[in-house]
Symmetry: C2
């Protein structure tokens, strides 16, 4: 299956989850600025929102949306135990995927990364969502993972917490969250995915500089 991604974007969570599940993917890099794939195609022509990750399913459907892809990996590879099976526990996983995807990823970090956004909006975004960091920190106090074991929600949250440093958000006021992030970075699937995508990210930066 083809997985469209950009280095160190939220698609990192799909890479981590695929390594956890032992799912083989054909990774296709998308330039986040030009929206062209590394093999020269215009990504917007077949993925009109331009979002990564996107996964080409066997029936040809291009599945968009990080949480949807993470759920798909978990459901396709039950042995990997990346999601709970019971309805209430699965609902709790969906909660964390949704909160990370909405409150953290979209409400907090999208404005922080957006260079064209009007002045003042970024400060507003920070104020607005520190409550989400409090909430996650409380959940992670005394726990190793968001649920009782590693799930796709941890892959997603870890990938998003990577953006704290480049947006100058110091996680020290949320010590459980900070320690959780540091622990996850040591996890084999995560450190492998990070090393690969960091190298690709550096290559991307070099290409921009050369252009």
């Amino acid at each position: 299956m083809d997985l469209f991604f950009s280095p160190l974007a939220c698609s990192l969570a799909s890479r981590i989850s695929s390594y956890e599940a032992g799912i083989h993917l054909n990774f296709i890099e998308v330039d986040p600025v030009t929206k062209r794939t590394r093999d020269g195609r215009n990504y917007l022509e077949f993925s009109p929102l331009g979002l990564v990750p996107a996964l080409r399913l066997d029936d040809g459907f291009l599945l968009t949306g990080n949480a949807a892809i993470l759920e798909y990996f978990a459901a396709s590879s039950l042995r990997a135990n990346l999601a709970p099976l019971s309805t209430p526990d699965l609902a709790k996983l969906h909660q964390w995927l949704f909160i990370v995807g909405t409150e953290l990823h979209k409400v907090m970090f999208v404005p922080l990364f957006d260079k064209k956004i009007p002045e003042g909006t970024q400060t507003h975004a920070r104020d607005f969502v520190f409550a989400s960091l409090d909430f996650l920190d409380a959940q992670l106090t005394g726990r190793q993972f968001l649920l009782d074991r590693f799930t796709t929600a941890d892959a997603y949250l870890c990938s998003i917490l990577n953006w704290a440093a480049p947006t100058r958000i110091d996680l020290s006021p949320w010590p459980s969250l900070k320690a959780y992030h540091e622990r996850l970075l040591e996890r084999p699937s995560v450190s492998k995915a990070m090393a690969e995508e960091e190298a690709l990210y550096e290559a991307e930066v070099m290409r921009y500089r050369a252009a």
Copy 2:
């Protein structure tokens, strides 16, 4: 089960889905400004993000996040057929729930409703997400629902499209989306839920005026 909601908020999708599924809920109204329940409790004390909907599960866990609650209803009441059963089709439902929840709800409408947001941000939000409306319009052209029948994603999208009028977004440039919204408003579960929440919303406005 207790369902915390605010009139005409995105929690409307939970009400619609519960009617579709025949799930009996105890609806508890939360004032979106004071964050107090109508029975006088401070909602933030037990729901720190203050978001609606939230569903109290049988084990006491307060489930937050619209998509998580919608998935829970679908999984708890399979007879109602509110979600597909196959893994790839369920992934497509998750895609729509996630795109409606992120691109439309959080990226587009949260800034449009936020009276404290810096000037210019709202225009920026509009420009940024008209692509999402294009995408949804294309999906709905020649179709009655986002998938091949009514699902929780339609309940969510319908509830969010209700916000176009109060934020002065004219849906005419997206005719399939506009017609879809109008059709859904005629659906019995939707019209019942809308009539009930419109009355509660008017009562809320009257309370603000009296205060």
